[in-house]
């Protein structure tokens, strides 16, 4: 007998007592109580900041492109990789920051790039979480993983309250990465150390739609 049929036969035999199939009680919250957009953006920013990510609020007067240039400069980044679909209005016009479109850079090249700038698919307020799904303004997973500094732009209309709302808005067939703060470990005496293999620096820019 193949391993497959043998295991399935063992499972069926183990279930000979026919345990009841229970209806799953889904009485937990689907939606957040503070459903206002402003409240959600506020909660998202606070909770993400608790993971020591730096959170910035963009306005028509202080645009995402300007903030991107500032945070890259503040971290001493001279190069940043972006997906080709990153909107033009988010691209800093400054010549001092070299934005590199990802045209299939090698892993070594990404490793020598200081930063990455991406959008996101969904953000979760209650847990302070960004979700990337390799959409046009985000690109492949390696971009937001290998460079040591990740700058992510979140539109307020992408912020949902709960994990349940986020999953409902996502396509499970796409490659998904949930990010809640910079990479971290507490493996040595439970001392939290930020920055292990993922980016050590995470800047998140929350922007009104259209900025």
């Amino acid at each position: 007998m193949s391993a497959r049929s043998e295991i399935l036969a063992r499972v069926r035999a183990a279930l000979a007592d026919e345990p009841a199939v229970r209806q799953v009680p889904r009485e937990y919250r689907q939606h957040s109580r503070d459903a206002g957009t402003a409240d959600l953006a506020e909660m998202f920013g606070e909770r993400l900041a608790e993971y020591t990510a730096r959170v910035h609020r963009a306005t028509p007067e202080h645009t995402p492109a300007e903030i991107i240039a500032e945070v890259l400069r503040a971290r001493g980044a001279s190069s940043a990789v972006v997906a080709r679909g990153l909107p033009a209005r988010w691209r800093p016009g400054t010549a001092s920051i070299g934005l590199v479109d990802d045209t299939g850079l090698g892993i070594g090249e990404l490793d020598r790039t200081d930063a990455a700038v991406t959008g996101c698919a969904v953000a979760i307020a209650e847990t302070g979480t960004l979700v990337l799904d390799a959409g046009a303004d985000q690109g492949r997973r390696a971009i937001s993983l290998i460079p040591d500094h990740h700058v992510c732009v979140v539109r307020t209309d992408q912020i949902v309250g709960t994990v349940a709302e986020a999953l409902a808005a996502l396509d499970p067939l796409r490659p998904l990465t949930f990010i809640s703060g910079p990479s971290a470990t507490s493996d040595i005496e439970l001392d939290r150390v930020e920055g292990v293999h993922g980016p050590r620096n995470l800047d998140v820019i929350v922007t009104p739609v259209g900025c």
Partner: protein, 498 residues
């Protein structure tokens, strides 16, 4: 720096690392003699307990989430054959290859052959209980393939040729000074050079690990992972982690081999909304862990612009069907490996994980290991169901409501029937509690009194201070004589403690 009872990892047999060489009480006594270990454990378990309570208490619908999580798992087990077949077709439809492994040996053979086919001399590994359970590293090593653990704590344990002692924090038994020594002695880069400027600051040690592993991530063509969840309807695999080593292993290597217990499947995509809330808060005490990765199939599927070009999923039995056949014990297969039950356990927080022998320590290990392996009369795992005071804290924190105390009582009955030397095992096991646990004595006395209120071996309500948790559930009735009374009587009659 001395560590007792840590033999070199050996090439695992059929079951892999599910059994220790010594019975729990003997291994535990050695652990109790290690002051450093006890201090580390007390600090670590206390700190995680506090973090967990804070983030669980802020969730208004925590009990509803637990009820849903428990029901999804019960439903999954009841429909396991159809769900596994559904998962298999979904993974295949997106370019993955599914393998089935009856036991540890077969799983190791499959992974070793797959890695060997790629001509790999080296693979990178993401922390995974399943591959620890089957002893994959040793099996790969025997085939001339070096497996590098990439989770920081697993790396520490691996470099030291040691064994993990906690599900979540495998190096919980090591302090910074010991870790610095391990790195200085065993960590070597491609040119065989040791790390420089090490010190014993956790940030510097982490940086050394980052540098050491980065070159491996960037060039190793084969990765091996476990999985926290697999969604039957979509074929989506999910890995929950903190450091980014998981993301590296799931993104960069050309070939990904995922080894997963058959009980990890969940029916629908929507079910993850429950577990992605229960797991991080119960485990690290965070609202969400830093990184969770999900993938459905290979590079190019679902618009995936990168990720592995070859994906293999190994579905592992290794005793799970044996556990499933036990109608009381099968709930142990609900476990999502959060480790909350370890951190609240008065026995685990004193003995640490190695005393349990198996990959799975603590309260969940005390039921899961014997359920997976069975218990012969001379089986070291037959001592595990006695490695508990039945205080019930594990059940209270379990995010999927596994009634560990009831399963322990059930397994004690089985062990006794199979002729295990129950009394001696129990006596030795709890001997250490005799010295310093006044509160424990009082609590046990109360429980004994409460026995009068028990019906059919269960009771519904304990007197305070124990009523706090019997308000929520049934508790197995304690034995007629408590262990301590039994022990005291035995000592008066001249019986030794050893």
């Amino acid at each position: 720096m001395s560590t007792a009872f840590l033999g070199m990892p050996e090439l695992p047999g059929g079951h892999g690392n599910l059994r220790g060489a010594a019975e729990f009480p003997d291994a535990a006594r050695q652990a109790l003699g290690n002051r450093q270990l006890r201090d580390n454990l007390a600090h670590a378990t206390g700190a995680i307990r506090a973090k967990r309570s804070a983030v669980v208490d802020e969730v208004p619908d925590w009990e509803e989430l637990r009820a849903a999580g428990s029901a999804v798992k019960a439903d999954t087990l009841a429909r396991l054959p159809e769900l596994l077949e559904q998962l298999e077709s979904a993974v295949q439809a997106r370019g993955g290859v599914v393998h089935w492994a009856r036991d540890a040996e077969e799983a190791n053979r499959i992974v070793t052959e797959l890695a060997g086919r790629q001509g790999a001399r080296e693979v990178v590994k993401v922390k995974s209980m399943a591959t620890q359970e089957i002893g994959l590293d040793a099996a790969l090593d025997a085939a001339g393939i070096t497996a590098t653990e990439t989770d920081l704590a697993e790396l520490i344990v691996q470099l030291d040729n040691d064994r993990p002692s906690h599900i979540l924090v495998p190096a919980i038994h090591r302090n910074r000074r010991e870790i610095a020594e391990i790195f200085a002695e065993h960590m070597r880069d491609d040119q065989g050079r040791p790390p420089t400027d090490l010190g014993d600051d956790p940030a510097a040690l982490t940086e050394a690990a980052r540098r050491y592993l980065r070159e491996k991530f960037l060039r190793t063509p084969v990765a091996v992972s476990g999985a926290n969840f697999a969604v039957a309807e979509t074929g989506t695999l999910c890995v929950v982690e903190s450091e980014g080593n998981g993301r590296m292993c799931l993104t960069l290597p050309d070939t990904l081999i995922t080894v997963m217990g058959i009980e990890k499947v969940v029916p629908t995509w929507r079910d993850l909304e429950i577990f992605l809330q229960l797991l991080p808060r119960s485990s690290t005490g965070e609202r969400m862990n830093p990184y969770t990765s999900m993938w459905s199939g290979v590079h190019g599927e679902g618009g995936a612009p990168d990720g592995p070009r070859e994906f293999h999923l190994v579905l592992l039995d290794n005793g799970r069907t044996r556990a499933l056949a036990d109608d009381v014990g099968r709930q142990a297969l609900h476990c999502i490996r959060c480790s909350a039950c370890l951190n609240v356990c008065p026995v685990y927080s004193r003995t640490g994980g190695h005393a349990y022998g198996s990959t799975y320590p603590g309260p969940i290990g005390a039921i899961l290991s014997p359920l997976l392996t069975g218990m012969d009369a001379d089986d070291t795992n037959a001592s595990l169901p006695f490695a508990s005071t039945l205080c019930g804290a594990c059940y209270d924190v379990c995010p999927v409501k596994i009634d560990i105390p009831s399963v322990l009582v059930h397994l004690r009955g089985q062990a006794t029937r199979s002729g295990h030397r129950t009394e001696r095992a129990t006596m030795r096991l709890l001997a250490w509690l005799m010295s310093s646990a006044g509160r424990f004595t009082a609590a046990r006395r109360l429980m004994r009194l409460a026995r009068f209120g028990a019906r059919g071996g269960r009771f519904r309500r304990l007197p305070p201070p124990l009523s706090g948790w019997t308000d929520h559930r049934d508790l197995p009735a304690p034995p007629r004589r408590t262990f301590r009374q039994w022990w005291a009587a035995r000592r008066r009659n001249g019986g030794g403690a050893r």
